[in-house]
């Protein structure tokens, strides 16, 4: 991919100091291409099902997501791995996976959770809610198409590079480093198979490339403005982890009585879990 700063290539009249198309105008044009801001404003809730496959690794799963006005809950059962869940209520995101357990998200992870599940597709319609700045940093040629790279910067300084097709204005991909307790993983998500739903132009297929692995997600169900169960959005409170004081949990959620009760419940649950075999020790 050769970077080409073509000052004259921009369709928009405004340019930034580097002579590249103005980011705000590009993003606004992208929103129009995706159906217009009014369509997204009219979206109050949705439910989606997405088939996830991880190529030759043989891993598959179905992700189900409920979203309502910024609150959300998403779950995916992956055979051999277990249940992976994320959610957010009142702007307080959380996650639950077989490695790290239930935990409240903060910092960069919380920021990423917010924008990744944003109502608006590919960041463009709601970029101002999640990022403090947008700047066009390049116009490139990719497979014969002119692609504008818009770098979005969050309040914590996290950066996402959103690529827009200059001709169609539709999003092509975005790149970022996924934060997790284990470290940052570089990732790029490619958007494909755009289809119009309720006036919104939506990619039904996304390919996530993390350099080591590729995950293909294909949307199989998408329902808008239906009823949602608000009880799904809150962080689960029945596990030890959710009430453990300290890094893992929002301090405001800690209640000593609840903590004690939940720990007792968790211990009871663990004891009742399919018991390991009791046996005589030793390999001999």
């Amino acid at each position: 991919m050769a970077k080409v700063a073509e000052k004259s290539a921009a369709a928009s009249p405004a340019v930034n100091e580097a002579g590249l198309p103005d980011a705000a105008q590009l993003l606004a044009a992208s929103v129009d291409a995706m159906g217009g801001a009014a369509k997204f404003d009219a979206l109050t809730s949705y439910y989606s099902e997405v088939q996830v496959t991880m190529g030759g690794l043989g891993l598959t799963g179905v992700a189900k997501t409920w979203w309502r006005g910024g609150d959300y809950y998403s779950e995916m059962e992956m055979p051999g791995v277990g249940m992976i869940r994320t959610g957010s209520l009142d702007g307080k995101p959380w996650s639950d996976d077989p490695i790290n357990g239930v935990r409240a998200l903060d910092g960069k992870e919380a920021e990423q959770a917010a924008w990744s599940m944003a109502m608006t597709l590919c960041l463009a319609p709601e970029w101002k809610r999640h990022f403090k700045a947008a700047e066009t940093t390049a116009v490139t040629q990719i497979e014969g198409k002119q692609i504008a790279e818009v770098t979005l910067t969050s309040a914590l300084g996290d950066r996402v590079v959103l690529r827009l097709d200059v001709a169609s204005k539709l999003p092509v991909s975005h790149s970022f480093t996924q934060a997790s307790p284990l470290g940052d993983t570089p990732a790029t998500i490619y958007f494909k198979d755009f289809r119009v739903v309720e006036g919104m132009n939506i990619p039904f297929q996304q390919v996530m490339d993390t350099t080591l692995t590729k995950a293909v997600t294909t949307m199989t169900r998408f329902e808008v403005n239906g009823p949602t169960d608000a009880a799904k959005f809150a962080m689960p409170g029945t596990g030890v982890d959710t009430v453990t004081p300290g890094k893992l949990v929002d301090g405001a959620k800690i209640d000593p009585e609840k903590a004690a009760a939940a720990q007792a419940a968790a211990a009871e649950k663990a004891a009742k879990a399919e018991p390991s075999t009791k046996r005589k020790p030793g390999k001999g």
């Binding site: 949705y46 996830v52 030759g56 690794l57 043989g58 891993l59 992700a63 997501t65 998403s74 995916m76 055979p79 051999g80 791995v81 277990g82 992976i84 994320t86 996650s95 996976d97 077989p98 490695i99 357990g101 990423q112 990744s116 599940m117 608006t120 590919c122 480093t177 997790s180 284990l182 470290g183 993983t185 570089p186 998500i189 939506i202 996304q206 390919v207 996530m208 993390t210 350099t211 080591l212 692995t213 997600t217 949307m219 998408f222 453990t244 004081p245 300290g246 890094k247 720990q263 004891a271 879990a273 399919e274 018991p275 390991s276 075999t277 009791k278 046996r279 020790p281 390999k283 001999g284």
Partner: protein, 482 residues
């Protein structure tokens, strides 16, 4: 708005990292024999080594066309693209492509072709490299999901039966018996073959164990003819037909790895408050069973824990985090994974309710990969001591198992591992803090000297003023390799 399904996966990259060796059976049976694990004695300076990361593969000359060339090219290419070291150990990877790709012309059958591909991978001199033909049938005619119900280890240079039963089925072969032949094939031949390729004595023991395990496999109900020295009959040679049985345990499938029999066992050592916990793989669905075992032991008043990882070849590396969390009241790292383009850390969050009593981890030559990462990591955090009769397998590189277009399975290394204090388990393995000699006589007598030593140490730590301190690194004073 639908990014989250994929986005969540990015943070879960460790889920797909398979850190197992030897006993980690790809979908096809039998389990592939472990790749040779040899320390690279001389590594040329990296600065002098060309990186193959930016190689234009379209500029490479074509290989002679055979039935296996496409698979070979895919194997070669995946390693070139995904290995954590873009110099591939400072090897001329394009030249090796020509050399080994050219050899495919001489391959008479799939077995020879896949042997050639594995020979290419063996040039990397690392664990966790293996390509298995579709169906895996080329490895052994005796393939099958069942096996003769005995477990064999190399003790004092002999292949000794250390477990006489499997899944509740008694083999009739006594503990302490020396295995002489399987279906008429002398096991000495297996050992000689391994000795010819392995560089370290401990590696011979590791590979011999897995080679014998593979030879003991078969279809359910099939029989294996075992010839052995019977200690009950003054070591007279005895031949016994033993029926293959399906290993017990809850079957777990993850991706291309199917029907892995997983077991979690626990007990309180009689007459003590010392718990014994063992599990045979690291698979995420086992975590709840491990938690349940710990809860049961703690409910019984456990004061010290023996975590028995002998014979555990690894599995999904990420499982080490929730298990470590059962033992850590302070946050810590089990070590660092370095990939080509990024790094990750086995960060374990604290659990104030974690078990705080002393912990001893048991290892043997069959302790590999995630088990080694866990043992090394926990020791570096000064949370456990390591007891064993010899170092662990020394096969601790994160890998992926990928289905190729031909249906073959490729396991390949993607990362490098170092403990939080910088120790590399690959090659040398995890050296026990306390080495406990094992003899054949121990097994004949039904003793487990390593476990006995651990229990004794934990019992001593319960005495007033006794402190069970792990050493800063390496063996404790006065304790060395046998």
């Amino acid at each position: 708005m639908r990014t989250r399904g994929a986005l969540g996966l990015a943070s879960l990259t460790p889920l797909v990292l398979w850190v197992a060796c030897g006993g980690a059976p790809p979908a096809a049976e039998p389990a592939p024999a472990p790749a040779p694990v040899t320390p690279i004695a001389v590594v040329p300076p990296k600065a002098a080594c060309p990186s193959w990361a930016g190689l234009d593969v379209k500029s490479l000359p074509p290989l002679p066309v055979t039935s296996y060339t496409a698979t070979f090219e895919q194997v070669w290419r995946i390693v070139q693209e995904k290995h954590f070291d873009p110099t591939l150990g400072c090897q001329d990877w394009p030249a090796l492509r020509l050399e080994f790709g050219g050899r495919l012309v001489d391959a008479k059958d799939p077995a020879e072709a896949y042997a050639t591909m594995n020979a290419l991978l063996a040039t990397l001199k690392q664990s966790h490299f293996k390509v298995v033909a579709p169906g895996g049938a080329v490895e052994s005619e005796a393939s099958g999901p069942a096996r003769a119900p005995v477990h064999v280890r190399m003790i004092e240079g002999q292949l000794v039966v250390v477990d006489a039963a499997l899944g509740g089925v008694d083999s009739g072969v006594p503990c302490g018996a020396v295995l002489v032949a399987i279906d008429g094939k002398p096991v000495a031949e297996i050992v000689r073959k391994i000795e010819a390729t392995a560089l370290r004595p401990d590696e011979v023991a590791f590979q011999a164990m897995w080679a014998v395990e593979a030879a003991l496999r078969g279809a359910p109900g099939a029989t294996r003819s075992l010839r052995f020295l019977d200690p009950r009959k003054k070591d007279r040679e005895v031949t016994r037909e033993v029926t293959c049985v399906i290993p017990d345990g809850e079957m777990v499938t993850i991706g291309n790895l199917r029907d892995i029999p997983t077991t979690v066992t626990h007990t309180m050592i009689p007459g003590t408050k010392i718990g014994h916990l063992a599990f045979n793989y690291w698979m995420l669905p086992m975590v709840e069973r491990v938690r349940g075992a710990m809860a049961d032991l703690r409910a019984q008043g456990m004061t010290g824990l023996v975590l028995d990882l002998r014979g555990n070849p690894g599995g999904v590396g990420a499982m080490s985090i929730p298990v470590a969390r059962l033992l850590l009241t302070k946050p810590g790292s089990l070590g660092k994974l370095q990939f080509r383009d990024f790094a990750q850390e086995f960060n374990v969050a604290a659990d104030p309710a974690a078990f705080t009593g002393p912990v001893i981890v048991l290892v043997d030559e069959g302790t590999a990969s995630t088990s080694e990462i866990f043992a090394a990591g926990l020791r570096d955090l000064e949370r456990a001591r390591v007891f064993g009769s010899r170092p662990s397998a020394g096969a601790a590189l994160p890998s992926l198992v990928e289905a190729l277009e031909s249906g073959a399975l490729l396991q390949y290394v993607v990362g490098d591992y170092h403990s939080s204090r910088g120790a590399a388990a690959e090659g040398d393995g995890v050296r026990p803090d306390v080495l406990v000699p094992e003899t054949r006589a121990d097994f004949i007598a039904g003793r487990d000297p390593v476990l006995e030593a651990a229990v004794k140490a934990l019992a001593a730590s319960e005495q007033p003023d006794a402190v069970l301190q792990p050493p800063a690194s390496g063996p404790a004073p006065g304790e060395g390799r046998p």
